[in-house]
């Protein structure tokens, strides 16, 4: 950030310095008080690359900071996606022996609990580490109820159909869903707009698409293709 800000100032200054001096230009540039510092010395690079080992290399049985003196295996795999062959606890059938074996640990902690090593360096991070799934932000609406309410009667559905057939513009799917307290999918399952309305909406959509330029069209096609690949597990 700083280097970018100082570069416009630096360049004319350099040029001036080079033209003004009669000696070798390299020396002049090195003595300049410039804001853009490059890693031009080996010492600075070496210092920058001297990274301490990961804490797991120190975490012995006593949790100390010394390297282990005895022969032991350090298992520190790189971060990776969880395997789909590892069945979550909830998906195990009732008869599975793994379910019985894990039941006691599951009662105490959920599968999302991250088991940090009990070293002194990471004790502060466990205090702030999220414990429950509610601490992570949800994408979209969190369902408030477990069961669908099934509160609409046959008369309600008839009323919904009548309203939709009367004025499909005012009584849009979203409006009806809000009014009757159901999902948009349920409205779509119950009633169908009159054919002229559907034709009008289709014509509007086509008019919009006709205004798209080649870039927007290609971007949309690519996005659709990317999602098709995603569904087939190719991405």
């Amino acid at each position: 950030m700083e280097a970018i800000a100082t570069r416009p100032v630096l360049l004319p200054c350099c040029r001036r310095a080079v033209t003004a001096s009669s000696g070798p230009s390299r020396l002049v540039l090195n003595t300049l008080p410039s804001g853009a510092r490059q890693k031009s010395s080996a010492a600075r690079t070496r210092r920058a690359l001297r990274i301490p080992p990961h804490p797991s290399f120190f975490a012995g049985p006593d949790g100390g900071t010394a390297r282990p003196t005895t022969d032991e295996i350090i298992f520190n795999p790189p971060s990776s996606e969880p395997s789909v062959y590892h069945t979550p606890f909830k998906f195990l059938p009732k008869t599975d022996p793994r379910r019985r074996a894990n039941l006691t640990s599951e009662l105490l902690a959920s599968s999302t609990t991250i088991q940090y090593p009990s070293s002194s360096s990471s004790s502060s991070s466990t205090a702030t580490a999220p414990k429950s799934p509610e601490d992570f932000p949800a994408l979209g609406r969190v369902p408030t109820q477990d069961k669908p309410p099934h509160h609409l009667t046959k008369a309600d559905i008839e009323e919904m159909r009548r309203l939709r057939a009367e004025d499909p513009v005012t009584n849009s799917v979203q409006t009806l869903a809000r009014r009757f307290g159901c999902s948009k999918l349920f409205v779509l399952m119950c009633c169908q707009a009159p054919p002229e309305h559907r034709a009008r909406v289709q014509a509007e959509l086509e008019a919009t698409q006709a205004r798209w330029g080649p870039r927007r069209r290609a971007a949309r096609e690519e996005r659709a293709r990317r999602f098709a690949m995603l569904f087939n597990g190719e991405l």
Partner: protein
């Protein structure tokens, strides 16, 4: 029409029509040498009867052939004992002594090379495919009890399909003859690219709507595939298709159809070896052979899945199983405002995480996480070394514990 036909009807008449007169005379003395009495015919000089036009002074035969061998469609069975290739194949596959070389030679003769069912491998391949498909399907059912039917079909095809068995037979080092005939080495696989042959080594019906399914994209649902189609849920070819195949194979060289014919010949050969092993050595050696050569191959079943609406499918699964409804939550992210962001999304049901995935957009990561959760459901396995029902056929088997059977698919396809 049921395509699997029993026995070999009307073969002698057709053979007589197809074969020249000299060959039909010699077919009267042609014997399958795996039968008990093998008449050893001493090799004699060719007489004028079966002179095939070869100048034997200019092109002397590499080995002493039995009389009239060149006029036969496939090598006579007694030549199997002299073939080095055949003995090498027998040794390489560690086949038992009980399996004679003559049967192994017969397993290498495709029905397109020799139409006589007493001399080609059709019968052996039929037994072999039944054994292989049974073993693979029961193993898949016990190993992955929740697989949807179309994925199960794909997995079956991945293990025991034509292409896989073709690869298996190639890996055994089987080579094929350029053209079949009585004079070629019996250790070479013999098939013809000019006539497709009439070997039927599987079950299945030809459908009345066969044409429309292929050309007009008619519905080809899973339930009817189980009933009508072959073991891999694929349409059974009609006679017209086979005729068209043979016509095109004659005009072009090395096209898709000829490759399919070669693949089928290799696959039938692999099946016939299993059938021969079963016939001569019994059930357990055949099972061990299939386990070693077919089931030992690696197939990533997780890559066979394709989804249409994974988030909805997962919601339906959670509703069916009385789990809390799934909620997607953002576990971590980096570079949201950059060109290449990464979002890690987990799908939770209550306090349990069902799936997790990383993706370049929130929607992408969420869909992928739902797919991973569904795959984790479908790919549940009771263990790596599951017992299968046919393990109980052994004498000293432990008492059977019932295998886990799932209640069925989430979405009908």
């Amino acid at each position: 029409m049921l395509l699997a036909r029993p026995g070999a009807p009307s073969a002698p008449t057709r053979r007589a029509a197809l074969r020249p007169a000299a060959a039909s005379r010699c077919a009267a003395v042609r014997n399958q040498s795996t039968t008990a009495a093998v008449p050893q015919i001493p090799p004699v000089e060719d007489d004028a009867d079966d002179y095939d036009g070869t100048d034997h002074v200019r092109f002397p035969p590499l080995e002493k052939l039995p009389p009239r061998a060149t006029s036969l469609p496939s090598p006579p069975p007694q030549r199997a004992l002299e073939s080095a290739k055949l003995a090498a194949l027998h040794a390489r596959l560690s086949l038992p002594e009980k399996l004679p070389l003559q049967t192994l030679a017969r397993a290498l003769v495709d029905s397109s090379a020799d139409e006589n069912p007493q001399f080609n491998n059709t019968n052996l391949a039929f037994v072999g495919q039944a054994l292989i498909n049974y073993q693979v399907s029961e193993w898949l059912m016990c190993r992955y009890p929740r697989l949807p039917m179309n994925v199960l079909f794909a997995a079956m095809k991945g293990y025991a399909g034509q292409q896989s068995l073709h690869q298996v037979a190639r890996s055994w080092g089987i080579e094929h003859a350029a053209a079949p005939g009585g004079e070629v080495d019996p250790g070479l696989l013999q098939f013809s690219l000019h006539k497709p042959g009439d070997a039927i080594v599987g079950f299945g019906y030809t459908r009345a709507e066969h044409e429309n399914v292929l050309k007009r994209n008619w519905r080809h649902g899973i339930a009817s595939r189980v009933v009508f189609d072959d073991d891999f849920g694929e349409l059974v070819h009609t006679d017209e298709e086979l005729a068209q195949m043979s016509r095109r194979a004659d005009t072009e060289y090395g096209n898709k159809l000829t490759r399919a014919l070669a693949e089928r010949a290799y696959a039938n050969c692999a099946r016939a070896v299993v059938g021969a092993l079963y016939a001569h050595a019994g059930r357990e050696p055949a099972r061990a052979f299939v386990r070693a050569h077919v089931l030992s191959r690696t197939l990533d079943v997780a890559r066979l899945f394709g989804f249409k609406n994974p988030t909805r499918e997962l919601r339906m699964l959670c509703a069916r199983e009385d789990f809390e409804p799934p909620v997607a939550r953002l576990l971590s992210e980096t570079g949201r405002a950059s060109r290449t962001p990464v979002f890690v999304v987990g799908i939770f049901s209550g306090r349990d995480k069902l799936g997790e995935a990383a993706g370049p957009s929130l929607e992408h990561a969420r869909t992928k996480a739902a797919m991973n959760a569904l795959k984790a459901w479908y790919l549940y396995s009771p263990g790596e070394h599951v017992r299968v029902p046919s393990d109980m056929l052994a004498e000293d088997a432990r008492p059977w514990e019932p295998a886990y059977i799932d209640i069925g698919e989430i979405i009908g396809r």
